[in-house]
């Protein structure tokens, strides 16, 4: 990506912020970071860059993807942006699991449509990289390859998966006329070296529930693979693929080689809590049970009937992603591994970096205090 102009959306998110830091370290690069108008993201971007010296030129553009192909920009700005943009990296959208489907669609499908429409105006475009999720596979079980699409009629666990699968239908069409790189992410846990989490998601909420002793059970199979990746792997791999002009679908996932079993991940959570908060052991909290879906459903139904608000919040929080565990699957990463071959970029073994993520959650009190 030499002498490039990158339009980056979602620059303050878990993945976008990692990409921003890496792009800012590049010479002859302009980063146009599109942030939502009125969202006060400029200070966030300054915070992400921290004390690093930005070599690239960073421009913050206030716009709004919900306004369609204009991206919420004035015509003159839009024309200039279209002329100079060589790469689009679209990380924007919603990663919430609990939005109503209509809202998730507006952000994830509508936002992607806006980006693709804009991309068609860019004469110098070399790549449009779009971020999706491996969980577009929904309630499928078994293998899910980089050539597979959608839920195969099995349905989805939450509106995030559903909206992203619909977004991929747009992307599939766009592959005919645009240099599309579709990057399906696994669950991004945090930085593999520091454990730092820039975007707290379901896995971090689950760690908090275990810490608080409010996670008695989750559905799944103890031996099933849980796919989590580090944010630095995702950012490094994405930029490598973009730099090399790759197009098509790639899974930025740990795959069979680096995943851990559900049982090991839960044990790793408890071990880490004990290791980094020795006083936690005094609370005598048991590991969450791994149970079949019917048992979990019965428990959730009981909590709902009882109307206990705290337990209700806890089960809702778990349920937004836990039902995915009841549909075990393995994400094939053959194409990604081939493309990254020789780059020394690879997903680390989940259980090796995961304890650092747990520590970061504890030290930062889940992002509520600096550390």
């Amino acid at each position: 990506m030499k002498s490039s102009s990158v339009l980056l959306t979602g620059a303050t998110g878990a993945v976008g912020s990692e990409l921003l830091r890496r792009l800012c370290a590049r010479k002859e690069t302009t980063v146009n970071a599109l942030v939502r108008r009125g969202s006060a993201r400029q200070p966030d971007i300054a915070g992400i860059l921290g004390d690093m010296e930005s070599i690239a030129r960073v421009v913050v553009l206030e716009g709004d993807l919900r306004q369609g192909p204009t991206l919420g920009l004035a015509d003159i700005d839009l024309d200039a942006l279209a002329r100079e943009t060589t790469h689009i990296v679209h990380c924007g959208g919603s990663t919430s699991f609990t939005l109503p489907l209509s809202e998730a669609r507006a952000l994830n499908v509508g936002g992607t449509q806006a980006i693709l429409d804009f991309a068609r105006r860019c004469d110098n475009l070399q790549c449009v990289a779009l971020f999706s999720t491996v969980y577009v596979s929904g309630k499928r079980s078994g293998g899910f390859s980089e050539d597979d699409f959608g839920d195969a009629g099995m349905g989805f666990v939450n509106s995030y998966e559903h909206s992203k699968a619909e977004m991929e239908e747009l992307v599939l069409d766009a592959m005919h006329d645009l240099p599309v790189l579709l990057l399906r992410l696994s669950t991004v846990a945090g930085d593999s070296n520091t454990g730092m989490v820039r975007g707290f998601n379901a896995i971090h909420h689950a760690i908090r529930l275990v810490y608080n002793g409010l996670a008695p059970m989750i559905p799944g199979d103890p031996d099933e693979c849980v796919d989590i990746v580090s944010s630095d792997f995702v950012a490094d791999a994405a930029l490598h693929l973009i730099d090399h002009g790759d197009t098509g679908v790639f899974h930025l996932a740990s795959g069979a080689e680096s995943s851990s079993s559900l049982a090991d991940l839960i044990a790793g959570t408890v071990d880490s809590l004990v290791r980094f908060r020795p006083a936690w052991r005094k609370r005598a909290i048991e590991k969450p049970l791994i149970v079949d879906l019917d048992t979990y459903d019965l428990f959730v139904r009981s909590v709902e009937e009882a109307g206990n608000e705290v337990m209700l919040d806890a089960t809702r929080s778990i349920s937004t992603f836990a039902y995915q565990l009841a549909h075990p699957k393995l994400f094939d990463t053959a194409r990604t591994r081939a493309a990254l071959d020789g780059s020394r970029i690879a997903p680390g073994r989940a259980l090796e970096f995961y304890p650092r993520v747990v520590k970061y959650c504890l030290d930062s009190s889940w992002g509520t205090r600096p550390c």
Binding site: N212, G213, L214, A215, P216, M217, K282, R283, A284, I285, E286, K287, P288, L289, V291, D292, D294, T295, L298, F299, S302, E305, A306, G307, N308, V310, M311, A314
Partner: protein, 335 residues
């Protein structure tokens, strides 16, 4: 030496006392004695509970033990120890709420002491006197919530094994809920009641094969830690039951019948799945009819199960309960 088979200590006789008065969930609700929804409690398996009237906790204990002696040929002089197990703090005193209740009178405090000497008036001693158990030393077993009778049975077996001249221990449990207070606690409905069991060397039935008990003192404050208690219940229960089976060299498939506490049918529907025991092998018939009699559930259910013909000689039975404090207790018997 295998201590269990050497001494063959078991529960030779069981009796219970349940107050005559039965009150439905609807009546409790109308009297303001339910904190939660009657409909939810009904869906969790409850219909009604027994309410004590004039009788005190000690009266109920005496009635249960009296029934035990009336129904069985027991030489009272063979009883060397009485273990008086109570869950409610008030039950280890001579407190008697009498007939006052929200259903028919003014509320009153749990403990009303007029003299400091009241603190030294013990129901266990009165029980020994009323039952004329002249050779029995009395010991109170408390601070384990609903698991108190399990602790008493465990101690009884251990004492018989340890003391050659001790042949029988009478275990008694009685709890009377404060009449003016709401009767649903963490989604179960509390009934008044008492039970008595004779643990005897060379018992003809109910050999105590294994006893286990775990306390999680971190969860002692039941008032402020209700959610944590709810979350801890199932993982700890599963772990303890599996540990008990393992210690006994059994699997859940070896258990002919689980004799449960009456802390909601729903909880057993879930726990049964967790331990791999179908609901048909859990004796849940009493939950709706009787409610949760604090510490007396399991013995009351064991007696009913035997009377109903659900169990036969030699069957392995698994008893499990849970009590504030926070305690989980499990026992395996050979009927």
């Amino acid at each position: 030496m295998d201590r269990a088979t050497d001494y063959e200590t078991g529960i030779d006789a069981i009796a219970e006392y349940l107050p005559e008065r039965v009150v439905t969930l609807g009546e409790l609700d109308a009297a303001g004695l339910l904190g939660g929804s009657a409909a939810v409690l009904a869906s969790f398996g409850f219909e009604g509970v027994h309410l004590a009237g004039e009788e005190s906790n000690v009266d109920m204990a005496i009635a249960a033990a009296g029934k035990l002696f009336a129904e069985n040929e027991i030489d009272r002089d063979e009883i060397g120890v009485v273990l008086y197990a109570t869950a409610l703090t008030s039950s280890s005193t001579m407190w008697n709420a009498g007939s006052a209740s929200a259903l028919n009178g003014a509320p009153e405090s749990v403990l009303e002491l007029s003299e400091v000497s009241d603190l030294f008036r013990y129901p266990a001693s009165r029980l020994q006197a009323e039952l004329q158990l002249r050779n029995a030393a009395v010991i109170g077993v408390n601070q384990l919530g609903c698991a108190s009778i399990f602790a008493a049975l465990r101690l009884a077996r251990a004492m018989i094994v340890a003391e050659d001249d001790l042949k029988s221990v009478l275990c008694v449990s009685a709890d009377k809920f404060p009449p003016s207070h709401k009767r649903d606690l963490i989604y179960n409905v509390v009934s008044d009641g008492a039970c008595a069991a004779l643990v005897r060397r060379g018992a003809a039935r109910n050999r105590i094969v294994e006893c286990t008990h775990v306390t999680k003192g971190a969860l002692w404050d039941s008032g402020s830690l209700e959610n944590e208690i709810l979350a801890a219940y199932f993982p700890t229960a599963k772990a303890l039951i599996e540990r008990t089976l393992d210690k006994a060299g059994l699997t859940i498939d070896d258990i002919a019948l689980v004799i449960p506490h009456n802390v909601s049918l729903r909880s057993w529907q879930i726990l049964g799945r967790l331990i791999g025991c179908p609901l048909e092998r859990i004796f849940t018939e009493n939950i709706s009819r009787v409610g949760h009699t604090v510490a007396s559930d399991n013995l009351l259910n064991l007696r009913r199960a035997a009377e109903s013909g659900r169990i036969k000689r030699g069957d392995h039975l698994l008893l499990f309960t849970f009590g504030y404090g926070l305690n989980w207790a499990c026992m395996i018997l050979e009927h």
